[in-house]
């Protein structure tokens, strides 16, 4: 079974040289720590930055330079700043190659819920609805089940929808799942996890790929 770092490591294998990537808050952010050798990716921050660098040193801290999580950051060589309309414009136009998001629920058709829990204080969707509606390649990074052990891979969302039919792949602590016309297709299982465990923990339609293999992380 993977921890959150393992999930991030596995997703990092999806990165290709020259990719423009938007990483959501939480596990997705960790993906930046595992960019493969020889691969250069450019991170997009939807508040208006291409080329997010590492966190700053004490001397570099600049209140005018933050990421979408409102954390102080730096820039990399070749970075650029722009306004929020252009930022979401490039997302909407499919120019971002890969978007990695957390989620509370994903369905076997690729629907996603990740912005609101009824009865809890609503904080807002921020850029989540724009990202899921427009990004051309969305991978969800999340735990396979919630704290009560309920599957988060469902046939229909129980929580308010963020976007429909948009997720392409889900990487959980148990495995890798592509969204196909037949529902979730398990292509990899995490080390130490059995297919039976995955079947038991998945509520949506699930197919096991004939070529399923143990994840290499």
């Amino acid at each position: 079974m993977l921890d959150k770092f393992g999930i991030a490591k596995r997703i990092a294998q999806e990165l290709q040289d020259g990719y423009y990537v938007n990483l959501g808050i939480g596990i997705p952010t960790l993906v930046a720590n595992y960019v493969p050798e020889g691969v250069e990716v450019i991170l997009q921050s939807e508040n208006g930055l291409l080329g997010i660098g590492p966190f700053p040193t004490e001397e570099q801290v600049d209140a005018d330079l933050i990421n979408a999580g409102k954390q102080t950051v730096t820039t990399t060589a070749g970075s650029s700043f722009f306004d929020s309309a252009l930022s979401f414009g490039m997302i909407r136009a499919g120019r971002v190659d890969l978007t990695v998001l957390g989620a509370m629920e994903v369905t076997d058709r690729g629907d996603i819920a990740n912005w609101k829990v009824p009865g809890k204080m609503v904080k807002g969707m921020g850029g989540a609805m724009d990202l899921v509606a427009a990004a051309k390649n969305i991978i969800v990074a999340m735990q396979h089940t919630d704290r009560e052990g309920n599957s988060k891979l469902l046939s229909a969302c129980t929580l308010p929808i963020t976007g429909l039919k948009c997720v392409r792949k889900v990487v959980t602590n148990l495995g890798v799942f592509e969204i196909t016309p037949d529902g979730f297709l398990c292509t990899e299982y995490a080390p130490g996890v059995t297919i039976e465990q995955i079947k038991a923990a998945t509520a949506g339609r699930l197919t096991i790929s004939p070529g399923v293999r143990e994840m290499s992380v």
Binding site: L49, P54, K70, S84, M121, M129, D130, A134
Partner: protein
């Protein structure tokens, strides 16, 4: 050509109760600190505020919530703000949540004289309720209307006496979009220079969009998440 005013109090003095304001900034980054403070002092109330966020309890738009000057907040993410939550739950404050890209593009539409735009954000969600859905080439989009705001209040890094503006780094965010979108646009800048001193090739907001400009004072520029390299 007389756009320069002496300070925030003068810049905002004709804002009336019940008007619609746009306020630039993302989180606490690039917010018009001077004008927010002046609005708090002015006591103007029943405002509708369009801004990506609502500040924190003791900074930014949060200050205007403390004084109950805001009737309605239109934002994409209202974050951690205890007073905001209290007013929302008690029904004192009305809130409309809008996807961030839609918020930005509805500002841009106003600045470009486009009455409405199409975006896929929110299709199939509660954001789509009551909205027109239209399919282009197999994909559904929502029709979203340009904002109309009485005032846009923005913060820039440098500005000149003709109202030309340059923003710094990610403090740009919504500022240039809102600067284009207000019936009246007020810009506060860290450094105000005579026309002719800024490179015309590097202006982010042409002065035609700016009605009033002043040099702000005492910027705090509070940081929400001070993250350092380990």
């Amino acid at each position: 050509m007389n756009k320069v005013v002496s300070n925030a109090a003068e810049a905002i003095k004709d804002i009336q109760n019940g008007q619609v304001l746009m306020l630039g900034g993302f989180g606490l980054c690039g917010i018009p600190e001077n004008c927010i403070n002046a609005l708090v002092k002015s006591g103007v109330k029943d405002l509708t505020c369009i801004s990506n966020n609502a500040g924190v309890d003791d900074f930014g738009i949060g200050l205007m919530l403390q004084t109950k000057q805001v009737k309605k907040m239109i934002a994409s993410y209202v974050g951690e703000n205890a007073e905001f939550e209290r007013q929302l739950l008690s029904g004192e404050l009305e809130v409309e949540l809008i996807p961030q890209g839609t918020l930005a593009t509805r500002c841009m539409a106003a600045g470009y004289g486009m009455p409405a735009i199409f975006t896929p954000a929110g299709v199939g969600t509660e954001v789509a309720e009551g909205k027109e859905v239209r399919n282009f080439k197999g994909k559904d989009y929502l029709l979203e209307h340009a904002f109309e705001a009485d005032f846009a209040i923005v913060k820039a890094w440098k500005g000149d006496t003709h109202g030309n503006l340059i923003y710094k780094d990610t403090a740009r965010n919504f500022n240039p979009l809102m600067a284009m979108a207000g019936k009246i646009t007020i810009a506060e800048v860290e450094e105000l220079v005579p026309a002719g001193q800024l490179d015309p090739n590097q202006i982010h907001t042409p002065g035609i969009y700016v009605t009033r400009i002043f040099q702000g004072v005492n910027y705090e520029k509070r940081i929400e998440q001070r993250t350092l390299r380990s």
